[in-house]
């Protein structure tokens, strides 16, 4: 097991190196000048200011030494400084990531619970109207453009009906608690501030639903087809021949087996979710990594892009590692030594 995790961690390093290298190469292929993008009109005309800027960001060195410098910094955990925000990228990530993490976890919970529930119902009532409705719903989930869906949902629930609050993480009049984890649900709970907790939860519902809809669709489809497949397995026949009730078979034998591939899909779904953040955060004014990534990408703020990419690649590997470990726990056939 440790060996396995070790191997994965080595792969993680390789992956992170690759991601960083890729962004670095990309950043130097792009015909844009961070100097021009970040200095004011008049400041641009003052060579002294430009030189100071270049020196500050290491832009005056050769490409190779920039590269070396960059990786030296990476090794010490320094992701560089964002050109756009002017702050250390690490600090930016620390600030924006909790918002994204909270949103994506809630979205994932919604997706998992509903997805598995729907998938199971759909498989049990195969080819019945319920099945058709759920299948259509889950296919809708994977085919609706999230940005549009977010827009429509926001307009309907927030403006027209008015049952959910507008965008953002909390009510504009409340302020975020100082310090803490940045996960507002947790923070408010820890502080015992239930009013804030409610506020935060209410703000989470709509974006989390929109965001989780895609993954919900994925999971529901996968659960359905797995369950159907499992139900035709020999060991289900064995279970029947033991005299088990059909419900007992589904709960005791079928679901657990059919959920194994769902774990993988859920992992993919979670990574997808992080990727899809960009669009949803944009609509819901969510101060998270997605917004940060978007703004960094369009302004070609490569230290920030690299930081975000490294973070997400890191999460990707961690999620995959977790999935593998989970496999090992659930499926006795898989054993990592």
């Amino acid at each position: 097991m440790l060996r396995f995790i070790g191997r994965r961690l080595i792969f993680l390093l390789f992956l992170l190196f690759g991601v960083a290298l890729f962004v670095f190469i990309l950043s130097h292929l792009v015909p844009s000048d961070p100097v021009a993008a970040n200095l004011s009109q008049s400041a641009m005309n003052n060579p002294e200011i430009v030189a100071a800027f270049k020196e500050k960001w290491g832009l005056d060195k050769s490409l190779f030494s920039q590269f070396i410098l960059y990786f030296q910094h990476l090794l010490t955990g320094d992701l560089g400084t964002s050109i756009r925000t002017g702050r250390p990228v690490m600090e930016d990530l620390m600030q924006f990531f909790p918002a994204t993490l909270e949103l994506s976890i809630v979205a994932m919970v919604i997706a998992l619970v509903l997805g598995i529930l729907f998938g199971v119902i759909s498989a049990i009532f195969r080819n019945k109207p319920v099945d058709h409705i759920i299948r259509t719903l889950s296919i809708s989930g994977v085919s609706v453009p999230s940005f549009w869906f977010a827009l429509i949902m926001l307009n309907i629930f927030s403006s027209v009906i008015g049952i959910t609050p507008g965008p953002g993480r909390i009510d504009a009049r409340s302020t975020t608690p100082e310090g803490g984890t940045g996960l507002l649900l947790l923070d408010s709970l820890l502080n015992g501030d239930f009013q804030l907790l409610g506020d935060v939860a209410m703000h989470l519902i709509l974006p989390a639903t929109v965001l989780g809809f895609f993954t919900m669709g994925l999971i529901a489809r996968q659960t359905r087809s797995n369950l159907l497949e499992v139900m035709s397995m020999d060991y289900i026949r064995t279970a029947r021949s033991k005299g088990l009730k059909e419900s007992g078979i589904i709960v005791g034998h079928a679901i657990s087996n059919s959920l194994i591939p769902v774990i993988t899909v859920a992992g993919i779904g979670f990574c997808n979710l992080l990727g899809g953040m960009v669009l949803v955060e944009n609509i819901f004014a969510w101060p998270g990594i997605g917004q940060y990534a978007y703004l960094s990408a369009v302004s070609l703020d490569f230290p920030a892009i690299c930081g975000v990419s490294l973070l997400i690649a890191f999460i990707y590997v961690v999620i995959n590692l977790l999935i593998d470990i989970l496999y090992g726990i659930i499926d006795p056939r898989v054993r990592y030594r």
Partner: protein, 535 residues
């Protein structure tokens, strides 16, 4: 299998938690909204700011002075909607006959928020720090030769050359006066090597060190800012607390405003404010700004190709539908004759019906382009007071198609687009000009050989008359004479230049119906101390 059941239970619990909190909610939204109505003392402002740093010696953002005017004071500042500098920390100034040495007398007995007295040394420290830190803001202080404090209440600034706009420049954050004692304690320095040794920015990003009506208590970039009343500020300050919320999406700002979550929806555009229901709990405020959008047509034949032909340039000016641009820019849009905005000395305006397609076609024919040509038009994904440059470009494309010019729009991030622009490599682009300080001198950038002129490859040799006029205007202190010079230049540029000035944008935003004291100023947006919520 127990693990799976455990997992399922955890999921269920968390789900029910959410459900519960949802219930809690419904009882709560009402209470929170009622409490928000009750707190007359706190004003919430929704913005989409561009703050990168709150260090006055570094910041150079559109929203910079919105914050700095609330937390710092300068020697001279703007007030209300006007663009004329008024004394603030200084009570008066005098200029020597050379026009280079300015002597300021400070108001006595003023204190910083920290309680430290404001002395001339603080001013000297602040100015030197800005000059030596060599960041964005330093550009405005370029013209300063030296700053001295002969006594506690006197500051003497010596300029390198005459500058009629110096007082205007003084009103921006580059010359905000910081509490030197505090800043030094936090690692600040005004020494020559400040660009590498100064470490006070981190502190200033979290706490203000000025004497303005408010003090900064919290800033989370791209999220929120909390300002609280400065007890040491002598003037009237209405709201005891100001919360500034980052809400990037204009629709969201409008929504939040209509729901009473915020009191000001500042970063919205003309199309959004139109959706505000009349008679509701929100009202629209419109005010002119000094932002002017224009088309740049490169004068260099290699780069501008057909666009470098003065006849074509003139044809473009005739072909544009100025009425349409005014409509797009929203109520209160103005049409300046050329490069000097309304509100600046000697500003003139252009007739609404300036468009003349026939004349434009004739000019095209004269230039030999009767059958037109294709030209790329570069437009950044950016907007001027809520009007997207891309929309402007689309409108330009439509208008120019009438004189057979086929425009191909190329969009890009503003940072990317601006680089080519600054290097003078764009043949044809949509740009805007928003002054760094509110003086004619700032506009002289459009003169051949100056900043914008160079970018259009418009050499001084092309129009020596204009260059001469500009030189005069820069140093002319007499207002009337300056106005005359300004008018002359405007007329020349209106007829013969690589620019087409489209529209001077209004600022449209919305505030809650019971908010008073709303006056928009292009430099610092809103004077926060004047804002007041009535019953």
């Amino acid at each position: 299998m127990k693990k799976i059941i455990l997992l399922a239970i955890t999921l269920l619990v968390s789900l029910s938690l959410i459900a519960c909190s949802e219930k809690e909610e419904s009882g709560q939204t009402t209470s929170s909204s009622s409490s928000s109505n009750g707190s007359q003392d706190t004003i919430v402002i929704g913005v989409a700011s561009d703050w990168k740093t709150l260090d006055p010696a570094r910041a150079y953002e559109v929203f910079g002075n919105f914050y700095f005017y609330a937390t710092y004071e300068n020697l001279y500042m703007l007030e209300g909607s006007e663009l004329i500098p008024k004394p603030a920390l200084a009570k008066e100034y005098s200029v020597d006959e050379s026009g280079l040495v300015y002597t300021f007398k400070l108001v006595e007995g003023r204190k910083f928020a920290s309680g430290n007295p404001i002395t001339a040394n603080d001013v000297v420290f602040s100015f030197n720090r800005t000059m030596n830190i060599k960041d964005n803001a330093s550009a405005l202080a370029e013209g300063v030769e030296k700053v001295e404090a002969p006594d506690e209440n006197t500051v003497v600034v010596t300029l390198k050359e005459q500058d009629a706009s110096f007082l205007s420049k003084l009103t921006s954050n580059a010359f905000a006066v910081v509490d030197s004692q505090v800043v030094k304690e936090q690692g600040g320095t005004d020494a020559e090597d400040a660009s590498t040794t100064d470490t006070a920015t981190a502190y200033l990003d979290g706490t203000s060190a000025g004497s303005g009506p408010y003090v900064l208590t919290k800033w989370t970039q791209n999220t929120e800012m909390v300002l609280e009343k400065n007890p040491n500020y002598p003037g009237t300050v209405n709201a005891s607390k100001i919360i500034i919320k980052e809400i990037p999406d204009p629709n969201t700002q409008i929504q939040a405003l209509e729901k009473g979550e915020i009191d000001v929806a500042l970063s919205v555009g003309p199309d959004q404010v139109k959706t505000i229901k009349e008679g509701g709990n929100a009202k629209v405020v419109s005010s002119p700004t000094s932002t002017i959008s224009f088309l740049l047509m490169n004068n260099s034949p290699e780069i501008g190709k057909e666009m470098s032909d003065p006849l074509v340039q003139q044809a473009v000016r005739y072909a544009l539908d100025y009425e349409g641009f005014k409509q797009l820019a929203g109520d209160g849009a103005l049409l300046p004759m050329s490069f000097v905005q309304d509100g600046f000395v000697g500003a003139q305006s252009r007739a609404d019906n300036y468009q003349n397609i026939e004349k434009a076609k004739e000019l095209m024919k004269e230039a030999g382009f009767e059958n037109g040509f294709t030209v790329p038009l570069i437009a950044a994904n950016y907007d001027s007071e809520g009007l997207s440059w891309v929309t402007i470009a689309e409108k330009v494309k439509e208008d120019l198609s009438k004189i057979n010019i086929n425009v191909e729009i190329q969009t890009g991030d503003v940072g990317v687009v601006i680089e080519d622009y600054r290097n003078g490599k764009t043949p044809f682009l949509v740009m805007h000009w928003s002054p760094d300080y509110y003086d004619l001198s700032n506009q002289l950038a459009f003169i051949p050989g100056d900043i914008v002129g160079t970018r259009a490859n418009w050499d001084p040799s092309a129009n020596p008359e204009l260059v001469a006029l500009a030189e005069q205007a820069k140093v002319e202190i007499d207002e009337a004479k300056r106005a005359e010079l300004s008018g002359k230049m405007q007329e020349i540029i209106a007829e013969n230049s690589p620019y087409a000035f489209l529209v001077q944008h209004p600022k449209s935003f919305a505030v809650s119906a019971n908010l008073e004291g709303v006056a928009y100023n292009d430099l610092f947006k809103l004077s926060l101390k004047d804002l007041k919520l009535s019953k």
